[in-house]
Symmetry: C2
Subunit: 103 residues, 2 copies
DNA sequence: TCCAAAGTTTCTGAAACATCGAACTATGAA
DNA sequence: TTCATAGTTCGATGTTTCAGAAACTTTGGA
């Protein structure tokens, strides 16, 4: 039924399967929704997403790349900052995964 | 907003973040829903969940324990067989996680 | 030009994982 | 009692991951 993308989904779940990365991602989702409410694109640069995370720069950089490689977020450099955004398609795929069958 | 259980959720996502475990879990979810439709408890013994997975016994055993330790499934020995079932609360938590905020 | 800010790269070591073979433990027939 | 079934436990081994230190790269002021 879903053999083909099990691998991709597993990759995404794995990317979220680390407390720091999950928190990072959730912070971003939250920000995104705030900005969606305002009807414009969100501009979340990295440092803003570190709420309460006690890890330093290199590790953050590593985690962000992990999320990006898994296809969960998009990143774009803007001046000095790295702008992050959630990939809607990934979010939908994850929602669908845990939805009751056939729904 | 959800700092407390980020760790537990991360643990569950990590457990699902492996292709074989994810497939195992999805097979079980599917079985469960079939049986829910029939209005009775499902009886999924392990061997039945291995659809297409090319791993041998010790590895399967290890993965099942991983899913159980993460709180995603319950197991119960019944005669020679190990009966597995999805934990509804875990499924709900996962659904809620990817739901739009406030919903 | 010089500097600080915001990340990135590379390297390293410790810890955690995934998988398997071999030996083991029930359980339920024959 | 003897056997096959269905899993489990126990190393061993090779791989991956997490995190930080140090050094580097851009970029945007002063």
């Amino acid at each position: 039924m879903d053999r083909p993308d099990v691998k991709r989904l597993a990759r995404q779940l794995k990317a979220l399967g680390h407390p720091n990365r999950l928190q990072l991602f959730l912070n971003l989702v939250e920000e995104s929704q705030l900005d969606l409410a305002k009807g414009r694109t969100h501009d979340c640069f990295l440092a803003k997403l570190l709420g309460g995370l006690d890890i330093n720069a290199p590790t953050v950089s590593h985690h962000v790349k992990e999320l990006a490689d898994a296809g969960l977020i998009d990143t774009e450099r803007q001046g000095k900052q790295l702008i992050c955004s959630v990939r809607p398609d990934a979010l939908h795929a994850l929602r669908a995964l845990f939805e009751p069958a056939g729904t």
